[in-house]
């Protein structure tokens, strides 16, 4: 390395996960000297996205701790040193499997050479490992996929802090559920409800009435339901079974035992984000959710945060009062007043809590959409609970999101773990994918279920509700890993809480000035742009608000290199 890191900071952040990155950005933003450091050679930690090559390497990512280093020599009297990292809070891989041959077999290859080009093209349609790996770079596979509520805490924070300029989004084009043995589109906007052929006229009126009363939040509406389930409330409102299914399992993302008021809150969260961008309440980050952590890191760097990845983090140094003093990076001691770190980096000596809840996760690369249609969709599928299985959340992304190559899709699944990921998703996989079934079928191509080309099952501990202060030195703040929320709400809340504890009374991510607003002599950045936003009284409204502050990618042709070309209007 040509440059040496400075030896003193106000704050050191170890690990580049979501919460760590938000705290780093917020501290730099108010002028604190921040070192953001990671032993990984990539951004994002447990929240990262990977290409196809690199995701297979996270399984055996060797740490670059210098085990032979005589660390004692860097300590003064009465100091202690602890090594980074623990095994308790990492992701755990169950399987990563190819479902296609390694190469096209030779017989086919020799045959091909005699054939006219059209036939070769046809032959090429079938995927091989070799061919997918050739496209490795076109993949951005999230290990903690997220969607964003158009009016949720995350989108509002991006806009208010002006971090939105570092990321681009696409809106989710449909919300699906599994109903009566097949995939169904959940009517979520007003026009969806009215144009739906699956919902009768009477049902339409019922549904609109119910959704309106949920959002208007008339106190009296829910009197007596404090200890009852949301399902009971919906039943009492005389909703038909299909409508209950849509509202309970899809719109409220609830289960049969979800308390009424929680169900109402969830319904509000969904409905209040409708009508801002596109047809559903949700957005997805272009090039994967891992880009989001990087957007916060960029802001931190712009405000002076020092960034260093792939660092040999050799230990944490404490004084005799168990106060964090410095970190040992290679052979350099770097000191700071405070330390923020991801839970997976925590020294074993400080692990005084155990995860009791786990998240089952799976990723599938497939060869066509789970519900193909003329144009490419970005899909949220809420698979309802059944037979002792928890509800499963699935996100299907296609090439237009910049996360997979042409003619492939990625399906992400996650759920609260009951046994293990394979078991927890078995019923979904059997119904949605067709690896075995297609062979016997000779039906129309459209009816074919997608084939799984590659699958990855893993478990992540859910650490968001642990008491991460228990036994931790006062000037250290531990960030939990990814949680089950569809959006980043809990992550933002955690980051804000940590920030407020370290820097009480200081503003959390005030709006960063636009480059045009930066005047070299004397700053003038009180030029806060408030958004002309008005929440409509109508819960369901499809009018799309043009919010210039968020970049929404809408093109249907995301050819390489063509992105970003914006053509102005002729005068």
């Amino acid at each position: 390395m040509d440059y040496e890191l400075p030896s003193e900071f106000d704050l050191i952040v170890v690990g580049t996960g979501m919460i760590e990155s938000i705290v780093a950005a917020a501290a730099s933003r108010i002028g604190k000297r921040v070192l953001h450091i990671d032993s990984n050679n990539y951004y994002g930690g447990l929240w990262a996205s990977f290409n196809l090559d690199s995701i297979s390497n996270i399984l055996n990512s060797a740490s670059n701790i210098e085990t032979n280093l005589e660390v004692k020599q860097f300590l003064t009297e009465n100091e202690k040193i602890y090594q980074f990292g623990n095994d308790a809070f990492h992701m755990h891989t169950h399987s990563q499997i190819w479902h296609i041959p390694e190469k096209a077999n030779e017989q086919t290859e020799t045959e091909q050479s005699d054939l006219p080009t059209e036939c070769i093209q046809k032959e090429e349609e079938s995927w091989t490992q070799e061919k997918l790996l050739k496209n490795s770079r076109k993949f951005n596979i999230d290990i903690a996929p997220k969607l964003h509520f158009a009016r949720g805490d995350f989108v509002e924070l991006l806009i208010s802090s002006n971090i939105a300029r570092y990321s681009e989004f696409r809106s989710v084009s449909r919300v699906l559920t599994w109903l009566n043995g097949q995939l169904e589109v959940v009517p979520c906007s007003r026009s969806d409800v009215f144009s739906s052929t699956k919902v009768s006229v009477i049902e339409k009126r019922m549904l609109m009435k119910l959704l309106t009363s949920c959002v208007d939040g008339d106190e009296k509406e829910f009197v007596g339901y404090e200890n009852k389930t949301f399902r009971t409330y919906l039943k009492d409102r005389k909703l038909t079974d299909n409508l209950i299914h849509y509202v309970l399992y899809a719109i409220a993302m609830a289960t049969d035992t979800t308390p009424c008021l929680e169900g109402v809150e969830n319904t509000k969260r969904f409905l209040s984000s409708l009508g801002r961008f596109g047809k559903t309440p949700f957005l997805y980050s272009m090039y994967g959710s891992g880009e989001i952590t990087q957007a916060f890191c960029r802001l931190s760097a712009v405000f002076g945060g020092v960034y260093a990845l792939s660092q040999p983090l050799n230990g944490l140094i404490f004084n005799n009062e168990n106060k964090f003093k410095s970190l040992l990076c290679g052979q350099q001691r770097i000191s700071a007043e405070h330390l923020v770190m991801g839970i997976e980096k925590l020294p074993k000596e400080f692990v005084n809590f155990t995860a009791t809840q786990f998240i089952s996760r799976a990723v599938f690369v497939i060869d066509r959409s789970i519900m193909a249609s003329e144009k490419e969709n970005l899909t949220l599928l809420l698979f309802p609970p059944e037979d002792g299985k928890n509800p499963c959340t699935m996100i299907e992304v296609g090439p237009l999101t910049g996360t997979c190559p042409k003619d492939t899709y990625i399906v992400h699944m996650f759920t609260k773990q009951t046994t293990n990921p394979e078991e927890d998703f078995k019923h979904c996989v059997e119904r949605l994918f067709g690896n075995s079934k297609n062979e016997s079928e000779t039906g129309e191509k459209e009816n074919l279920l997608p084939n799984v080309l590659w699958s990855f099952y893993y478990t992540v501990p859910n650490t968001v509700n642990l008491d991460l202060k228990n036994g931790i030195p006062k000037n250290i703040f531990v960030c939990p890993g990814p949680d089950l929320d569809l959006d980043y709400d809990p992550a933002i809340a955690q980051a804000k809480a940590i920030f407020n504890e370290i820097y009480p009374d200081l503003e959390f991510l005030p709006r960063a000035p636009d480059p045009e607003e930066i005047i070299i002599e004397g700053e003038d950045n009180n030029n806060i742009v408030t958004e002309g936003e008005n929440l409509t009284d109508q819960p369901i409204d499809e009018a799309t608000e043009a919010v210039a502050d968020l970049q929404i990618e809408t093109s249907n042709d995301h050819g390489e290199g063509s992105s970003g070309i914006e053509q102005g209007e002729a005068e």
């Binding site: 390395m1 040509d2 440059y3 890191l5 951004y43 770079r137 300029r165 570092y166 990321s167 681009e168 272009m286 090039y287 880009e291 990087q294 957007a295 890191c297 960029r298 760097a301 712009v302 405000f303 002076g304 020092v306 960034y307 260093a308 990845l309 910049g402 480059p515 045009e516 930066i518 070299i520 700053e523 210039a548 390489e560 290199g561 063509s562 992105s563 970003g564 070309i565 914006e566 053509q567 102005g568 209007e569 005068e571």
Partner: protein, 186 residues
């Protein structure tokens, strides 16, 4: 809201720390050379709209925000970039040698058809020169890209560099548009 430009190009600056990227950006966008501001305010990107053959081209030029120092440029930095200025310092041999590492980095992260250009900056410091102009030219030829020596301080050829890059992107883009139209017709 009518746009005041015909095209928007996103450009990046890449190269070792200290070669003068931020200064080059300031020379082009503000026609200024000021070394005091750099450490105080983070420079995100700068905008300048130029005229090229009757078209208004808005150049949005992004700086590394110091993340190049420990090779921690985010993958997000490269998204949507249409042109990249690779900058080295003619008085610093190492910064020249590192250009090939930066090119590898670009190949891994940027779009494959991104337009690149090589800049040898601080060219007014002739007495301290470590990298001859010929070696710069030679390297550019190897990668099939254009090369210019500039000085942000003495304001030498910075304009020319950005105009050249913008013109090449525009040409490439228009060629693409034509071929699209062609494909659509036949």
């Amino acid at each position: 809201m009518a746009k005041t430009y015909d095209y928007l190009f996103k450009l990046l600056l890449i190269g070792d720390s200290g070669v003068g990227k931020t200064c080059v950006l300031f020379r082009f966008s503000e026609d200024a050379f000021n070394t005091t501001f750099i450490s105080t305010i983070g420079i995100d990107f700068k905008i300048r709209t130029i005229d090229l053959d009757g078209k208004k081209i808005k150049l949005q030029i992004w700086d590394t925000a110091g993340q190049e120092r420990f090779r921690t440029i985010t993958t997000a930095y490269y998204r949507g970039a249409m042109g990249i200025m690779l900058v080295y310092d003619i008085t610093n041999e190492k910064s020249f040698e590192n250009i090939k590492n930066w090119i590898r980095n670009i190949e891994e992260n940027a779009s494959s058809d991104v337009e690149k250009m090589l800049l040898g900056n601080k060219c007014e410091l002739e007495e301290k020169r470590q990298v001859s102009k010929e070696r710069g030219e030679q390297l550019a030829v190897e990668y099939g890209i254009k090369f210019i020596e500039t000085s942000a301080k003495a304001s030498i050829r910075v304009e020319e560099a950005f105009f050249t890059l913008a013109r090449d992107i525009k040409a490439k883009m228009e060629k693409k548009l034509v071929s699209h139209v062609y494909n659509d017709c036949f």
